[in-house]
């Protein structure tokens, strides 16, 4: 029986390997046929910015890897709307189609999960 797993991603890419390593676990959860969704909050929104080039700092490009999520079967891509407002970001800044959620929406999504992790 598939579990509903939400990955709460709140780290910026490149400054540490957190974002990239967390993304690897998201991909594997999807390969295991779990119902996977992702919620970007705070500095994690920077993972979605267009025009990244990780090669400039010898790393893989997180923004490009995120583009593989739909094909891996990750259905829910959510962004914390208050975080976006605070950072001055809008949907046009993101490299993927995402659903913006206010606090009520985030609470609702979290309450649907079996597991929430980072």
């Amino acid at each position: 029986m598939a579990k509903r797993i939400l990955f709460l991603l709140n780290r910026a890419p490149y400054g540490s390997s957190y974002a990239l390593e967390a993304l690897e676990s998201v991909l594997v959860a999807a390969l295991f046929d779990q119902q996977v969704s992702v919620l970007f909050k705070g500095a994690g929104l920077h993972q979605l910015l267009k025009g990244q080039d990780g090669a400039a700092v010898g790393q893989r490009t997180v923004g490009k890897m995120l583009g593989a999520l739909p094909e891996y079967g990750v259905a829910g891509l959510f962004v914390c709307a208050p975080s976006a407002a605070r950072l001055g970001l809008t949907e046009g800044d993101f490299c993927l189609p995402v659903t913006l959620l206010d606090h009520d929406g985030q609470r609702r999504i979290i309450n649907e999960q079996d597991i929430v992790t980072g």
Binding site: L8, N10, R11, K41, G42, P82, H103, Q106, R107, I110, N111, E112, Q113, D114, I115, V116, T117, G118
Partner: protein
């Protein structure tokens, strides 16, 4: 469907607080216990992990609605909630 929110940094309170709902509970651990030095005015139960409170010299200085929790209480909280969200940084 209730959630246990575990905070290990005081600053994580800002992220966590707006998402608290009925039936939820908060557990402050590690540097999260510093959040309880200020009044935390929410409707959900708040606990702070006792060894982390003691280590930081905060015994007797916590907001009045914050209760101490042992590791056994930590486990009981995890078991009695449907899921655990860990808030860091």
């Amino acid at each position: 469907m209730a959630t246990l929110h575990v905070l290990n940094k005081a600053a994580a309170w800002t992220d966590c607080e707006p998402l608290l709902g009925p039936g939820d509970a908060v557990l402050l651990i590690e540097d999260g216990v510093y959040a309880a030095r200020q009044p935390l005015s929410v409707d959900v139960p708040i606990r702070a992990l006792d060894p982390d409170v003691q280590a930081r010299g905060l015994s007797g200085q916590l907001a009045p609605n914050v209760e101490l929790a042992s590791f056994d209480d930590f486990v009981a909280l995890v078991v009695s909630h449907d899921r655990v969200v860990t808030w860091s940084q």
